[in-house]
C-alpha cells in the first residue's frame, strides 16, 4: 500500500485553519471527503453547533465520523483513496489526557497511561496515512503562553513535533493566510 500525503495545519482561534484544511481536501480529487471529528458536546449550544456543522458538510458531500476517544476505531470506517480531515489534535489530547476524571481516575495521573495512548496514536496515524490518499491534520497554537498545564502542553508539543517531522507539508495559519513552513 502506498503512503498517502500528510499535511499538518496549525493556527490560533479563528485563524482560518479549518477552511484551509477543507479546501485542501476539496481540491484533492481523491475518493470520499471524510471529516474525522474529535469534538464532543458538553452543552446544548455545543451540540447544536456540531449538528449544524455536520449538516453543512453533508450538503457539501462530506462523510462525518465522530470519534472523541478510541481513535483507532475510526480506521474501520476509512476506505482506501479517502481524503481525511482530522479536527483536531488539541481536542483529542484533552479527551484522552483527562479521560476518567468523572471517576477520579484520570489518565494524566496514571504513570504510563498517556505514553501508551501516544504510541497507539502514532500507529493509528501511520495506518491512516497508509490507507487514505490524503490526511490533513488540524491543530491549535497554544504554546506561546505561560505554562498553564505542563503535562498537556508537553504532550501537545511532542505530538506537533512528530506531525511536522512526518508531514509532507506543514502550514501555520494567520488570519486566513497560510504560511508554508515545510
Amino acid at each position: 500500500m502506498a503512503k498517502g500525503k500528510l499535511i499538518f495545519i496549525s493556527g490560533g482561534v479563528r485563524s482560518g485553519k479549518s477552511s484551509y484544511a477543507e479546501m485542501l481536501v476539496r481540491n484533492s480529487a481523491c475518493g470520499r471527503k471524510v471529516y474525522l471529528a474529535s469534538g464532543r458536546a458538553n452543552d446544548s449550544e455545543m451540540a447544536e453547533r456540531i449538528e449544524r456543522h455536520r449538516e453543512d458538510r453533508k450538503l457539501d458531500g462530506w462523510h462525518t465520523i465522530e470519534q472523541p476517544i478510541r481513535f483507532e476505531e475510526a480506521l474501520l470506517n476509512i476506505g482506501e483513496g479517502d481524503a481525511v480531515l482530522w479536527d483536531c489534535v488539541t481536542t483529542w489530547l484533552a479527551n484522552e489526557l483527562y479521560n476518567g476524571w468523572e471517576q477520579n481516575d484520570m489518565c494524566a495521573d496514571q504513570p504510563g497511561c498517556m505514553e501508551a495512548k501516544w504510541t497507539h496514536l502514532q500507529r493509528t496515524l501511520t495506518e491512516l496515512n497508509d490507507k487514505a490518499e490524503l490526511l490533513v491534520v488540524v491543530s491549535n497554537e497554544v504554546l506561546d503562553d505561560f505554562i498553564r498545564d505542563e503535562l498537556y502542553m508537553k504532550w501537545l508539543g511532542t505530538i506537533h513535533l512528530w506531525l511536522v517531522q512526518h508531514s509532507d507539508h506543514a502550514f501555520e495559519m494567520e488570519n486566513g493566510l497560510a504560511f508554508k513552513r515545510k
Binding site: S10, E141, L143, D144, D145, F146, I147, R148, M153, K154, L156, G157, T158, H160, L161, L163, V164, Q165, A170, E172, R181, K182
Partner: protein, 142 residues
Amino acid sequence: MQIIFGGAFNGKRQYVKENLTVGDYCWCEGTLPDTSAESAVIAGLEKWVEQQLLLKKSEVQIMQQINEICLRSTSSNYIWILTDMNRGIVPMDALERQMRDVIGRIYQFLFKEAKGVIRIWYGIPQTIKGADQDENLYENRG
C-alpha cells in the same frame, strides 16, 4: 550573540544541541553564566527573572544584569534560548503579569542586541533577524 526563540515545547533546546553548540558550552538553565564562561547557552530565562522578582529586585537591576552579559558577549559565543510566553490571556496572578512585562522588555532588548534571531516552530527554523535583509517582509513586494 544569537537568539533561538519560540513557544514552549517546540524543540528549541534540541535545535541548539544539534546545530549550534560546537565545542565547550556552559549550559545555564534558569541562571546567568558567570564571568569566567566564555561560551554559554542561556535557557529558562523566565525562571531566573521570576527568582529576581521574588527577591524584590527592581526591573532596572534586572536589566542591568542582562546588559552586563550582553557587554561581554561576542558574535556567537552566547546563545539565548527564549520562550515566547506573551501571546496568552492577561494572567490573574500579579507576579505573572509583572513577569510578562519584564520578560517582554528583556526580549525586546536582547532582540535588538543580537546578531541573529531564529524562530523555531515545531523543530523548523526561520531566521527572523540576520537573514541578509530577507526578513524585511515589507520589501518583498515582487
